[in-house]
Amino acid sequence: MNKRSLIGEFTKGLIEENATFKAAIGLCPTLAVTTSLVNGFWMGVAVVFVLTFSNVFVSILRKVTPDQIRIPVFVILIATPVVIVELVMRAYLPAMYQILGIFVSLIVVNCIVIARAEAFAYKNSPLRAAFDGLGVGAGFMIDLMLIGAVREFLGTGTLTVGSMVLPSKPLFEPMSVMLTPPGGFITLGVLMAVLNIAFQRAAAKRAKTVS
């Protein structure tokens, strides 16, 4: 396998190895916290931070980590940035911390973070691991924001971006089901299907123009 460029390590996490829509991992917070765009954004920020630092830590220590106990070592290395995120959020964004609650702490056992540590950071240099963590984290953040936006718009009729509410009045009767867990599953399933079809068609088109 030939090595990618650093930029390539970043961009592969966005579409090609997208955590939610391609690998379908880390679905627990994906379903639980995506009732609005803002929730999705902050959860995404937390994961980008944790994933980047945990990847770097794991990569730095990869040569001295005994193989047999690598998973416990990963968990401790992941827990460090998670605690930082948790404390910072509790101090500066108490309202958001109330909403995300346990799911911030649960990033410790998030399978995206552990999967990137095991599959990538454990075998690559710290710089590569950092770019990989940023890329996969950013991809995950986009996924959460996308699902959150769809669910918020259909479930409340409006979309809150920063301090703006768009449109100011719901254009249609909000569908309360979209804010409940079934709505999360439906949104995730439909988006996954639509995006994968779009990716496939784009890939087919690219292959045609190359040949």
């Binding site: 009767e173 569908m175 309360s176 089901v177 409940t180 079934p182 439906i186 399933g189």
Partner: protein, 330 residues
């Protein structure tokens, strides 16, 4: 020469029945209930039925075009799904409710799982469950008074009945002169359609009989608050959506067991769940979820209810003995 010899497995005799002819029979059987709905609830009822049917067909067409599959609108299964969904809705719902419900039923509950024959739940009921969860207020309160067609306030007769109050005369219940969803009010119209389907051999009597029998028995035992064995089984069956569900939804080929015994079990199970939801649950009526849950149980029922092979003995002990002896048992 070799290709002239055609070798196929049985069956070799084919009936003239096609998906289209069966679906056409179901549409014909739904005509009395639809007509009754329009007679009692007027032009709004027609609007709901038209919106749900047209959008179901349109959703099927657009989806199959979008994913480049052969368009199967001609087999009329989408018409049946749309019409059935419309019949489960109250007359005064805003029209986007049937439209979204039909689109959900066709695209998410049916086509995504491979289209007709591979859907794991009844699409019409899945669509109803979705709109019920999306706009609970509309789907459980947009009633119209029959004939006068003005907005009705207050509880449906099923609600009153569960509270132990009188719930209208039997004649009104039979012809459909009561509050309710479009297709569920007129028992006679449903029975007409059901009889037609039974006569044409489209549905099996076991599911509706087991379903309504179980429900009736349960209502008789538990139907009166504070007293056992004093309920009114007839009103228990006639009120609510059990009749429509038993004849037209629980009998869906794709999502009901294939064996006769399995179908009886499905009917009994649906009856029990309806009873549970009605009397001990939060929802006013449980037919939708009862049938959906039994749809999910169908593969399990088919797995455990295996019919006896032709020529084998009833008696398991005798069969074992015969096997041990190594002989055939006639």
């Amino acid at each position: 020469m070799a290709d002239k010899l055609l070798i196929t497995s049985s069956p070799h005799i084919r009936a003239a029945k096609t998906v289209r002819s069966i679906m056409l029979d179901v549409v014909i059987a739904l005509v009395p209930a639809s007509v009754a709905a329009v007679v009692f609830f007027g032009v709004k009822a027609f609007g709901v039925l038209a919106a749900s049917t047209i959008s179901a067909v349109l959703a099927e067409y657009l989806y199959e075009k979008a994913v480049k599959r052969p368009v199967t609108v001609g087999d009329l299964s989408a018409v049946v799904t749309g019409l059935l969904l419309g019949l489960t809705l109250p007359p005064a719902v805003p029209l986007y409710v049937p439209v979204v419900g039909s689109a959900f039923a066709i695209v998410v509950a049916k086509q995504v799982f491979g289209g007709l024959g591979t859907n794991f739940v009844n699409p019409a009921l899945a669509g109803r469950a979705f709109v019920l969860a999306a706009w609970p207020l509309h789907v459980t309160s947009a009633w119209l008074n029959p004939l006068t067609m003005d907005a009705a306030t207050g509880a449906t007769p099923l609600h009153a009945f569960k509270g132990g109050q009188a719930a209208g005369s039997l004649v009104d219940l039979l012809i459909g002169n009561r509050l309710g969803s479009l297709g569920e009010t007129s028992a006679i119209a449903i029975l007409l359609g059901g009889a037609y389907l039974l006569m044409r051999g489209v549905i099996d009597y076991r599911i509706p009989v087991a379903y309504l029998g179980t429900l009736g028995l349960g209502v008789f035992i538990f139907g009166k608050p504070g007293a056992l064995f004093q309920g009114d089984p007839l009103r228990g069956i006639l009120l609510g959506g059990a009749m429509l569900g038993a004849f037209f939804m629980a009998t869906d080929y794709v999502t009901s067991p294939v064996t006769p015994k399995g179908r009886t079990y499905m009917g009994i199970g649906a009856g029990l769940i309806t009873l549970l939801i009605r009397y001990w649950g939060d929802y006013p009526e449980g037919v939708t979820y009862a049938i959906l849950l039994m749809n999910l149980a169908t593969p399990l029922i088919d797995k455990f209810v295996v019919p006896r092979y032709y020529g084998y003995a009833h008696d398991v002990a005798a069969r074992r003995k015969a096997n041990r002896a190594g002989g055939e048992l006639s």
